[in-house]
């Protein structure tokens, strides 16, 4: 059963440096690190103390709010350092990897004969629960509240993001196992969205498959939820990213937690943009070395250019991303940059900016904001890139003056910060929309729960 979801509103940001479809291996990463901040809102409680030995899949820490939610080590080895920041906040758990990897055995499972409760406890105890996120609030799912539906997007529409059809190929059996497992966690349906019928997920069962088309943000789960089964007040849906399904599936089929990932290393500052096989938490240097960097003033981003986080060259691959992007920094002045005609940047308007003339052209954008922070002035442009039935500017204003009642009424339960990446991109006043949304959602979570 295949249906279509099509949107017109949105914006595809074409950038140079898309990853070529071939997978290379990386040099070996000596240490691996799991950074609790990658999981929004989690306050870690240490399980594996400094100096202890862990296996791949053994817990490093659990969440303060729910001690059932465990977070795994991606490799076996010794916990060499627990890095702390201001106020002794835990920044990351560093594991020195063994030469011979040892996996904790969680046991081979027959998914079809398991109950929902069994699957839930299995995912929790094996540390795979953090892969499941929930709406509202875009945080790790609360295992005690059953969702009304589960959504999986198998189509990446963000700029330079990994092509999931390529990354997931030949993983059909893992995907099928994971989706069958998920289908037992909800009394409702599991919805999967694919970009085309060639997707490895297009043929799996126990889920309803939709084919999506249109500009970014069609790949965002919120867009698909809004079209299929919008979230109302009091309802919860879960989402799982397609790459994480593979890890869940492999756990069920083999009993091992295998943190391997194929990530796209892309961006205009990458010499060989292609796919690299690595592991969650690997040293950035391990794959960037193989990919090569052009220039020395670059920004490395865990994730895509719209929603990723900045990482230093001595940092680690985040747990939650399938793309690693490197683009030039834009910390330079531009003479009369505000009034001269612009050909080399993307603009939503036509105010002496000419990207509308070349819809197919690929651009080399840097991190310059192209202007200073201002009050909200221009109206009507956010709506053109925002496909949900929500008034984006009004909701952003509600977030910025912290009116909980208004946030709720205007649809804050239905969105995640990533949905405001495009409005942020086109924003003439250079406001940081995703920050506003994140802070607003955190406030709602705290006050309303």
């Amino acid at each position: 059963m295949s249906k279509d979801i099509r949107i017109k509103k949105g914006l595809d940001i074409n950038l140079v440096g898309a990853a070529e479809q071939s997978t290379a291996t990386t040099v070996k990463s000596n240490t691996y690190a799991i950074n609790p901040d990658d999981f929004h809102g989690v306050i870690p409680k240490i399980v594996a103390k400094e100096g202890s030995e862990v296996k791949a899949g053994s817990p490093l820490f659990y969440s303060k709010t729910n001690d059932q939610i465990l977070f795994n080590s991606p490799v076996s080895g010794e916990v060499v350092e627990i890095v702390r920041g201001a106020k002794r906040k835990i920044l990351s758990f560093k594991v020195l990897a063994d030469k011979e990897q040892q996996y904790q055995d969680f046991g081979i499972k027959d998914v079809t004969s398991m109950s929902g409760e069994d699957i839930k406890s299995h995912l929790l105890s094996s540390g795979c629960w953090p892969f499941i996120k929930q709406r509202p609030y875009d945080i790790i799912a609360n295992p005690n509240v059953a969702p009304k539906a589960i959504f999986i997007s198998a189509y990446n529409s963000a700029p330079l993001a990994a092509d999931l059809d390529y990354v997931l190929q030949e993983k059909e059996s893992e995907l099928q196992a994971a989706i069958t497992a998920l289908s037992k966690l909800t009394s409702g349906k599991v919805y999967t969205s694919v970009g085309s019928s060639t997707s490895p997920l297009a043929k799996v069962s126990n889920t309803i498959i939709h084919t999506v088309s249109g500009p970014h943000p069609i790949g965002n789960v919120s867009t698909q939820i809004a079209k299929l089964d919008p979230i109302n007040k009091g309802e919860v849906v879960w989402t799982v990213s397609a790459q994480d399904l593979v890890i869940i599936g492999e756990l069920l089929l083999t009993g091992k937690y295998n943190a391997s990932r194929i990530i796209a290393v892309a961006g205009s500052s990458v010499k060989n943009p292609k796919y690299y096989e690595t592991k969650i938490g690997a040293e950035v240097a391990s794959f960037v070395y193989a990919a090569g960097v052009d220039g020395d003033n670059v920004r490395m981003i865990n994730g895509n250019v719209l929603t990723g986080t900045t990482v230093k060259p001595d940092g680690y691959l985040a747990s939650t991303v399938d793309t690693f992007t490197i683009i030039p920094e834009g910390d330079d002045y531009e003479f009369f940059g505000w009034n001269k005609p612009i050909f080399n940047k993307i603009s939503y308007s036509r105010a002496l900016t000419f990207s509308w003339l070349f819809p197919k052209k690929k651009y080399d954008l840097n991190t310059n904001t192209n202007g200073e922070h201002r009050a909200f002035v221009v109206t009507g442009n956010y709506e053109e890139v925002f496909p949900l039935d929500i008034y984006p500017m009004q909701l952003l204003k509600a977030f910025s003056y912290k009116d909980l009642d208004e946030m709720e009424k205007l649809g804050a339960y239905e969105i995640a910060p990533e949905d405001f990446a495009l409005t942020e991109f086109v924003c003439v006043s250079k406001q940081n929309h995703q920050d506003l949304v994140r802070e607003g959602l955190d406030l709602m979570y705290k006050e309303i729960g």
Binding site: V377, D389, L410
Partner: protein
């Protein structure tokens, strides 16, 4: 050391100091700042507020240039006892684009532009320094609009007072650019109108020197077409002349042709909302048609003081007076206008409707567009409220269906 580096060092020195906003305003005028993204999206679109505002100003420049020539043209025509006979647009331009005309324009209009910018920007800088925020670009457009919507002979002291009032009371007390309820340029214009009514609403201010010469043997007339209609005088200009702009009026409002070009620029660049402009035109036509209908029904007869303006063919309202300028450049102000798409349709439509209604029913000051826009500025948040409420209700209804 290059200029770029020198300025960068200066910026570092000013950082955190009181005068930093003032310096940055000038610095960013020369150079797009070196600011990079720190959170959220790592890349950003090419447009900033300066670029947006700059486009609006560029769209107004043709009107300004025309206004300068027209100041001289109207002055000399009035002295000669009437405009040269109008045959066709291009033939007529030889009377229009002359050096003498431009000199009068430069002498009368440029000081208006300079005073408007100097007074307004000084206040903006002052408030930016006091409130420690960057100087916002909103006044760049306001400062250009003001000279275009005042009569050519407006005394500079009056303009200074009005600008000071408009910027402080109309904008800064609400929190500066982006927070104001009323369009600042129209606040300035309304202040002029209500503070100096004898000066601003007379039939003499529209042509240079008409006021000074009044009562002397050299007296010249200086009336706008709307004034003539309201006074039940014979129209001395054809509708063609009005369309091209060979008529007296506020500096920038006379040439509907050039305003159309400005509107085309704003709509093409996606800066102004075409919905507001289109619905405004529809609103004005609708009201004009209603009045034409009233006249043809015979409910209003020739003796009535409303007759002349009511019987004006409905589409002429678009061409004469400041309607075209107002709906293009001021009704589309995103801050004081409606902010939702549906709201914009209503907002524009009602402006058009009220503009023509006020014209007809207020013969003392027959320019309705100013008051119509200010009125709808006040009601724009209400319109938006109901539009947004519709969205909220839809969400509530979805929940109810679910739980029922």
């Amino acid at each position: 050391m290059s200029l770029k580096n020198k300025l960068h060092n200066l910026k570092e020195q000013y950082k955190g100091k009181k005068m930093a906003p003032a310096f940055n305003a000038i610095h960013t005028f020369l150079y797009l700042p070196n600011e990079t993204t720190h959170s959220g999206s790592h890349v950003r679109g090419a447009d900033d507020l300066k670029r947006t505002m700059n486009m609006v100003i560029m769209a107004m420049v043709p009107c300004l240039i025309w206004g300068m020539f027209n100041a001289g043209y109207q002055h000399y025509s009035a002295i000669a006892g009437g405009t040269p006979e109008f045959v066709s647009f291009f033939d007529h331009l030889k009377y229009f684009f002359t050096l003498d005309n431009l000199l009068i324009g430069a002498q009368k209009v440029l000081p208006l532009v300079i005073v408007s910018y100097v007074v307004g920007l000084a206040i903006e800088f002052l408030f930016a320094v006091i409130k420690k925020h960057e100087v916002e670009e909103g006044y760049l457009v306001t400062g250009m609009l003001v000279p275009l919507i005042v009569p050519v002979d407006t005394p500079l002291w009056m303009l200074s007072v009005a600008v000071a009032f408009g910027v402080v009371i109309g904008k800064e007390v609400f929190g500066g650019t982006g927070m104001n309820v009323l369009n600042p340029a129209l606040t300035i214009r309304a202040f002029l109108f209500f503070a100096y009514p004898t000066w601003m609403s007379g039939d003499k201010v529209w042509v240079h020197q008409a006021v000074e010469r009044a009562g002397t043997p050299d007296a010249i007339s200086g009336e706008t077409m709307l004034g003539m209609l309201a006074q039940k005088k014979e129209l001395s200009y054809s509708i063609d002349e009005a369309f091209f702009g060979f008529i007296p009026g506020s500096v920038g409002e006379t040439s509907t042709l050039l305003i159309l070009i400005g509107a085309a620029i704003l709509i093409f660049t996606k800066i102004a909302s075409w919905r507001i402009i289109l619905s405004g035109v529809i609103g004005a036509l609708a009201m004009g048609l209603i009045f034409n209908g009233v006249v043809s029904q015979g409910w209003i007869t020739e003796g009535s003081k409303f007759y002349d303006l009511m019987s004006l063919p409905f589409w002429n309202h678009l061409v004469i007076g400041g309607f075209a300028f107002g709906i293009t450049f001021m009704a589309t102000d995103p801050v004081s206008g409606a902010q939702t798409i549906k709201g914009k349709w209503w907002y524009g439509f009602l402006i058009g409707l009220f503009a023509v209604m006020i014209r007809v029913f207020n013969p003392a000051y027959p320019e309705g567009i100013m008051l119509a826009i200010l009125l709808m500025n006040v009601f724009a948040p209400t319109i938006d409220h109901y539009v947004v409420q519709g969205n909220i209700n839809k969400r509530l209804k979805r929940l109810k269906v679910k739980t029922a």
